[in-house]
């Protein structure tokens, strides 16, 4: 092998690896470094404070509220999106033009910018003139405050996230359902097993890799929710929708507490890291494989 042939693979991966190292791997370490300093972005010197930022964060009322909000938002969004998507997939899993059209319709919000989705739903959820209040009025409900009241704002954001994500999730489930070999279904129907048994004993185990995949990517996505919050609620009313990435953004870019924001970023990194590891562990151990 010539020297050139030996070097070729390195030359081919170098540009990509360079980009990842510069804008991904290095920033992770830089963020961990910054999290141990007190710095306001303008001052020429950074003061080393050790783990003080983490201590301050964890003892701060607001940050605990932020963690609670993020958790509630994530749990609700993930369960509703994945659960509803599975039901929709079982319902829509047919190959004909009409079902194809419905699949396209429920998928469409997935490719729309979150800016558009946020503005559109802010209008639909307007307490005075919103279409949503008119619709629930038709069924006899009173007007809701949606995003303008602390008790409904977070749930309203969950609604928007589910509306945006459920179609994509359902189509991934449908792809999963269609990859189950037909003879397995035939065997089940020959055994005259009840639909419910077929579902719990056969379809669900076969779908478990898909379910894990969706739960994890939905979780990682929900943990870093930002756009809807920045546009629809700005974290309010009274901090009821303030979540991790928005909190980091505000602390870094509005209050210029770089070290403090970095510490919050490190906490988010740990959460996402744990989720990713759990995903791969579960994938390699428990998930059913054909």
């Amino acid at each position: 092998m010539t020297l050139w042939a030996k070097l070729r693979p390195y030359g081919m991966v170098a540009p990509a690896i360079l980009v990842f190292s510069l804008f991904f791997i290095y920033p992770i370490f830089y963020m961990i470094y910054l999290s141990m300093f007190d710095w306001n972005f303008v001052s020429p010197t950074k003061a080393f404070v050790g783990l003080q930022n983490f201590q301050d964060l964890l003892s701060e009322e607001d940050f605990r509220k932020v963690l609670t909000n993020t958790s509630i938002y994530t749990i609700l969004t993930v369960t509703l999106t994945t659960g509803l998507a599975l039901l929709l997939a079982l319902w829509l899993n047919k190959r004909n033009i009409f079902h194809g059209f419905v699949q396209g319709a429920i998928f469409s919000p997935h490719i729309i910018s979150l800016v558009s989705i946020s503005l559109l739903w802010s209008w639909l959820m307007d307490p005075e003139y919103g279409l949503l209040n008119w619709v629930i009025g038709l069924v006899g409900f009173g007007k809701l405050q949606w995003l303008s009241h602390p008790s409904t704002a977070l749930v309203s954001l969950v609604m928007v996230a589910v509306w945006k994500g459920v179609g994509y999730n359902a189509l991934v489930f449908i792809a999963g359902l269609q990859s189950i070999p037909a003879d397995i279904y035939e065997a089940a129907s020959l055994d005259r097993s009840k639909p419910w048994t077929t579902f719990t004993k056969l379809i669900l185990p076969m779908l478990s890799p898909t379910i894990f995949f969706l739960v994890i990517i939905n979780m990682i996505g929900s943990f870093q929710v930002f756009e809807t919050i920045a546009i629809m609620t700005q974290g309010g009313p009274i901090n009821s929708t303030n979540t991790l990435v928005y909190y980091i953004y505000e602390n870094g870019f509005r209050f210029f507490k770089i070290g403090y924001a970095s510490a919050a970023g490190v906490i988010l990194l740990i959460i996402v890291g744990i989720l990713t590891i759990v995903y791969f562990k579960l994938l390699s151990n428990r998930v059913h494989y054909r």
Partner: protein, 307 residues
């Protein structure tokens, strides 16, 4: 009656007299089953229609609002088709900011990212799929970490980095962090791996140069995956709000999504007709492309979920 039904089920014949009865019951049962199936069919299609409404109505409402006068947006019960179409709303939305510049920036950035990603991902994916080399495991580990940990997490250090390079508020600053894509490398690597070795051997026997083999034989074979990835990348970056928001402090490099979000600050919160008009400017191209190539796009986005 009930007895005969049981008989039919168990399938035990009880003499000739019962036979006629059974045939009658069977046809009646079939009729019942048919009606039941018809009712289910109606419920099914009504449900599907309801489902489509839940997803289409908000977009319809956006279109409707964008053509109304401000007082018309407050009328209830709502008018779905406004009396006069107020096209002025679109002009008003367009004039709230430097929209031509937003539009150009959006195109330059999304296309720039796409081109660079192709240039960096294809060779890297090929090398990971086809060559054995020392350290490839470690290097691919870097790709996997990048794939798994979301970029939204490290915007603060990246901001400081770009600011040190004097790249804030430039197209380059918004393009470079995405000049390669871990997802793209992952997808393309799978595709390159599936190409059979025999094909390569034949080309090698012809003494063809390695780069010629790659460009003229291998890359054309993964074209469907390239198209899939290109669609995915373009839509993701066309829609992106977070990075342009965080990495710009003035209008020079800002993109359409930021311009649309800013209409609210310029026009005030309650001018929903103008806001929806602006929103439509952002949504319409994507929805149009979606209707034209729905199959491809759905494949592009669902692909990573199945593999």
């Amino acid at each position: 009656m009930l007895k005969s039904v049981n008989d039919t089920i168990s399938g035990v014949p009880i003499g000739a007299a019962a036979k006629n009865d059974r045939v009658f019951v069977r046809s009646k049962r079939q009729a019942l089953r048919r009606t039941l199936r018809a009712i289910l069919q109606v419920v099914n299609y009504a449900g599907l229609l309801g489902l489509v409404l839940v997803f289409a109505m908000p977009f319809g409402w956006m279109l409707s609002t964008s053509l109304k006068t401000l007082p018309e947006t407050m009328i209830f019960p709502p008018e779905w088709i406004p009396h006069n179409f107020v096209w002025q709303n679109f002009a008003d939305a367009w004039n709230t900011g430097p929209f031509l510049s937003y539009f150009v920036n959006s195109v330059v950035i999304a296309v720039g990212i796409l081109v660079l990603q192709m240039l960096t991902c294809i060779p890297a994916a090929y090398a990971f799929a086809r060559y054995k080399f020392k350290g490839s495991g470690f290097l691919f580990g870097i790709v996997m970490v990048t794939l798994m940990i979301p970029g939204q997490l490290i915007f603060l250090p990246v901001y400081l980095e770009l600011s040190a390079f004097k790249l804030l508020n430039t197209h380059l600053g918004l393009i470079l962090p995405f000049a390669s894509s871990a997802f793209g490398i992952f997808l393309l690597r799978q595709a390159f791996k599936q190409i059979s070795e025999e094909l390569l051997e034949a080309a090698r026997l012809d003494q063809a140069a390695e780069w010629k083999i790659i460009l003229q034989i291998m890359v054309p074979m993964v074209k469907p995956v390239l198209v899939t990835f290109a669609l995915f990348s373009f839509i993701a970056h066309w829609n992106d709000y977070f990075w342009p928001l965080v990495m710009t402090t003035n209008e020079t490099a800002r993109t359409l999504p930021l311009g649309i979000a800013k209409i609210r600050e310029v026009e005030g919160v309650a001018t929903w007709n103008i806001l929806m008009a602006g929103n439509l400017i952002l949504v319409a191209p994507i929805l149009a492309v979606f209707f034209l190539s729905q199959r491809q796009i759905i494949k592009a986005f669902v692909y990573n979920g199945v593999k």
